[in-house]
């Protein structure tokens, strides 16, 4: 059940990100919904689950994106795993925590992605891309509480159901 709901969420996140958000938002980049989901899931379920979620969602995005497969999966695994360490130390109803975690996570992940892609000889303007990271982190941080809130409700629904 959990796997099904999470899969649907990830698929919807990827589709919304690549269709609606891409056409509605005037910026050249869109919020990375999958990264936000990974960090949110890590915050709610711990490092192991965060890592697995990041791996699954990241590979899904990689497979859809083509080119080098695994870099985004690796960065999301790191994000999910690291955010999972905060699971026991946060008050889960506080929506500022995911916003802050996503802001930092986005900077780390995108920087990691940038260096990885550059290392694999992708033709990327490093400085231009670096300048994009901060606005993207802000955008992700704005969207994060909404997605985190949905994930929190799903978790509570699944917990209720398990009882």
């Amino acid at each position: 059940m959990r796997l099904l709901i999470l899969s649907i969420w990830v698929i919807l996140g990827v589709v919304v990100q690549s269709t609606w958000l891409a056409s509605l938002l005037p910026m050249q980049f869109t919020p990375d919904l999958v990264l936000i989901m990974t960090i949110s899931y890590g915050l709610l379920r711990g490092p192991n689950q965060g890592l697995l979620f990041g791996m699954g969602a990241g590979f899904f995005v990689d497979l859809l994106s083509g080119n080098i497969i695994g870099i985004r999966a690796l960065s999301k695994m790191i994000a999910g795993f690291c955010s999972g360490f905060m699971e026991k130390n946060i008050f889960k109803d506080n929506l500022l925590v995911p916003a802050l975690a996503v802001f930092i996570g986005t900077i780390v992940c995108e920087t990691f992605n940038l260096f990885m892609f550059t290392a694999f000889k992708m033709n990327i303007g490093i400085w231009f891309k670096l300048l994009e990271i901060l606005p993207l982190a802000c955008l992700n941080a704005i969207v994060a509480p909404v997605i985190y809130h949905f994930f929190l409700r799903i978790e509570r629904f699944l917990a209720e159901r398990a009882k």
């Binding site: 609606w20 056409s23 859809l64 083509g66 080119n67 497969i69 999966a73 795993f81």
Partner: protein
Amino acid sequence: MFQLFMNRLILKIALILLITTWVIYATSHPRAQEGKIEYFLNTAMVPLESSFNYLGKMTGDTLRTITKLAQLKEENDRLQTQVSDLQAKQLGLNALQAENKRLRDALQFTADQPHEVISAGIIAVNPSNWNCSVIINKGRKDGIQKNMAVISPEGVVGRIGEVRAHSAEVIMITDPRQGNYIGGVVQRTRDMVFVVGGNHRGECTVQPAVDNYFKDLQKNDLVVTSETSEIFPRGLPIGRVVYFIQRVNNMVTKAYLKPVVDLGKLEIVYIIKSKKELPPETTFGGSENAPTNP
């Protein structure tokens, strides 16, 4: 070290990292074509992406339409204001044009007149419902005197009543006051008549001047001023017979006349300051302008 390998979590993570690194390495080289999983996932996602794209476009279009509607409303309001302004200006221009034409006609009429005439504008009407008179903006200072003939390009209007320094009263031919009559002649039969003001509002009574009845009066006969009129030059149209009363032997003793001048719409009138006697065949305003009896 052994314990580290025994930690299942670390082993799992290491395995995942290993696999991921291998995948990255394996896919980092240029490939002839994408893998089967990629192909399958991308193909499977197409319908979903298309649907979402369609919905997204619809949402975008709706938002754009709403924005456009707001802009259109604003533009419409602005254009409506412009139209109102232009209409107001147009009305002003129309009024100016009409006034210009009226003044040109007045000038032409004054120039064409064999008599010495003074043009005057109507500034007020008699407030009483019992009298038909108007006030003009010319008076004693302009050479206006009592009982001067007042005409318009269409025909007889009336005569001057009371005269003040800068204004004067024009008694219309339809005014029912005593003594308000004009000597006239039926243009077709040359019967001499008196046109007396009054009867139904806006009409005059026509009475035979010589006999007690009309020998041959017809509806729509034109009555013009005659030589018997003391103040009006002859030949000015007064009005047309609209109906008459027949007594015994079908004799018509009294008829009623509708003035040729629309007295309710007058703006400028002409006062004949001094009339000149014209040859008998000359008609009012020249032969072209004179209304003829059908």
